[in-house]
Amino acid sequence: MQTGEPQAQAGALATPADWTLPKRPSVAANIWKFIRRKPLGAFGMLIVLTMIAMTVGAPKADFGTPKLPNRPLGFELGKPFMARFEANDVFRGGERNALVGSIDRFLEPSAKHWLGTDRGGHDTYSVMVYAARRSLFIGLWALTFATIVGCTIGVLSAYFRGWSDTLVQRFMDSLQAFPALLLLIMIISLFEPNLTIMAVALGFVGVTSVQRIVRGVVLSTREEPYVEAARVIGARDLRIMGFHILPNIMAPVIVVFSIGLGSVILAEAALAFIVPERVPSDPSWGIMLAVTRQYVPPFPPFLPFTLFEGSPEGYHTLAAGGAIVLAVLGFNLAGDALRDVLDPRLRVG
């Protein structure tokens, strides 16, 4: 990033004819530099990209209100390209145990069923891919909610300070005093199983921490000279907050967003695992784990070729557990690397 500077200074000392602007590094060069400097971060990014790829499917021209998990943006997403079967073939009408007695149950992995099938005759690999869509979009919705609400509260609270700040912060303290998992279970118990409610509930729980971080940053940002300058030329409060403060606190917000996605995915899985009957029955990593809980293979599996002999549902657990671990790992590593890259104060070398 700063590699061009010494050259530019050297150029300034030479004759004006030698003045050349440092060449802006190409996008590919920047990516390569990121990979070299932050190998762990690049690995995390790779996982995140894989997860996004898992959710991508052919869009269908079926416009309507956005709805989780298959219509998160207002149009219906078809079969994920990475899944190997249509939803109806994988879930037999979407019910979890619809086809007990099917001849396709408990199959060992094969060319057709990469990770075998479970007791419902569902293709384990495809369930995992479909579940990625739910996890990722719940995470995105929840974090979007938490970020918008958290930023609004945090910026307003820090900008105006005074007694309103104290009151809002005490209120946030009291929200934080609620045990998060219990609050989540309580909120989703009040409604019919519904992914949108779940996403909002998960976001709601995240608001307190987002706003605390935002508030901390704004408290120092509002004393910066450029904010003072804006005030001097007569900018209104709203303008200062929206155009001068908000763009300058984006770095921590992006980091919180990335790391928050990991924890929301984990919380969603935990929720589905603890109270599977109260969450929607769309494919979900947490439900996969809850359903096959009593069939979990012993660990470590000693001989890889008869990995879970006699209990192919071990693959079910392995797929879901592995997916959760990788997803959380990916978002955390990516977030850590982003923090180092985006925050100039922490930039080393």
Binding site: P39, L40, T166, R170, F171, D173, S174, L175, Q176, A177, F178, P179, L181, L182, I185, M186, I187, S189, L190, G262, L266, A269, A270, F273, I274, V275, L289, R293, V296, P297, P298, F299, P300, T317, G321, I324, V325, L326, A327, V328, L329, N332, L333, D336
Partner: protein, 331 residues
């Protein structure tokens, strides 16, 4: 300082009042489940009888009055230390919390002990060898531990020990696990049995928390290692061990304490997942069942106790903080 403590205590009371109000309102959104359940128990057969029974149940629970009157009664009772009676077990909520907080607290303390035992050495090594291979490996392991859901790890471990070692933790009878306060009664299960039950969940829960603490400690250490007084310590030729342990680590641990305090507060509500899997009769398992039954005196009681515990632990941490680090002055 005294003024600060007083002001914080008053603000804490305000926050606790918010908590109490919020939980009350949240649980009054839809109380029909409880009423229907009770009416079903009353064996009313005709619609008229059923309506009468419904009326009766609502009067019994005090749900027929308006919300403000209910709220006033509730606050009055809480102020007197009466958290009501649970619907299912028909027991005083406060005494049941007393019975169940022991196991939850023990599990929490064990988790934090394990977490600190893991986090402190790893965090220090990772910080003093920043950006070397060992730092990368340790950080990767830490984030991986953060990502492994407790419920996956717990089930794996439980199954593996059962199959390969033919060992499972012994089961206990309800509420004899850890009497509260400790040593208050003679009916406990004995230290050895107790440790067998608590060991696995303690270690498994501790790993994830350890990862959090380790990451925090690492960044604190990195900051402290760049301070002038550490450079001075190096410059006067102290041994590496002394500089790192006595000059750097001691100072880096102070902010870590805040995190530990927060975690301790969270522990008060019990670890729902671990208590479910290992069948520990603690607060978490109990309150999740209560949510399923819509047993709202229990939910209200637990939330209140957890909130009070959390806030005053935080206050305590802040006071200790000022005591440990004389540079901090609360106005």
């Amino acid at each position: 300082m005294q003024q600060y403590i007083l002001r914080r205590s008053i603000l804490n009371l305000l926050a606790i009042f918010f908590v109490v109000t919020l939980i009350f309102l949240l649980l009054r959104i839809d109380t029909s489940f409880v009423v229907t359940q009770r009416v079903a128990q009353s064996q009313a057969s005709t619609p008229e009888q059923e309506a009468a029974a419904r009326q009766q149940v609502r009067a019994d629970l005090g749900l027929d009055k308006n919300l403000m009157a209910q709220y006033r009664t509730y606050l009055w009772n809480v102020a007197q230390g009466d958290l009501g009676e649970s619907f299912q077990a028909k027991e005083k909520v406060i005494s049941e919390i007393k019975d169940r907080i022991g196991p939850s607290l023990e599990l929490g303390l064990l988790e934090i002990t394990v977490a600190l035992l893991i986090a402190v050495p790893i965090g220090v090594i990772s910080a003093i060898r920043q950006d070397t291979a060992i730092d990368y490996v340790l950080r990767f392991v830490a984030i991986a531990l953060l990502g492994i859901p407790v419920f996956v790890l717990a089930v794996f471990v439980l199954r593996s020990t059962a199959i390969y070692l033919q060992y499972t933790p012994p089961l206990t009878e309800y509420r004899d696990l850890v009497p509260f306060p400790p040593f208050a009664t003679d009916r406990g299960v004995g230290v050895w049995n107790n440790l067998q039950i608590m060991f696995m969940p303690g270690v498994i829960g501790g790993l994830g928390i350890g990862a959090i603490i380790m990451r925090f400690l690492r960044s604190q250490m990195l900051e402290v290692m760049r301070q002038d007084y550490v450079r001075t310590a190096w410059a006067k030729g102290l041994r590496e061990r002394v500089v790192i342990l006595r000059h750097a680590l001691k100072n880096a641990l102070i902010p870590v304490m805040t995190v530990v305090g927060l975690l301790l507060g969270v522990m008060l509500s019990g670890n729902v997942v671990l208590e479910t899997i290992f069948n520990i009769p603690g607060i978490g398992l109990w309150v999740v069942n209560a949510i399923g039954e819509y047993d709202y005196p229990i939910i209200q009681g637990v939330v209140l106790v957890v909130a009070v515990g959390l806030m005053f632990i935080n206050l305590l941490v802040d006071i200790t903080y000022a005591w440990l680090d004389p540079r901090i002055r609360y106005g």
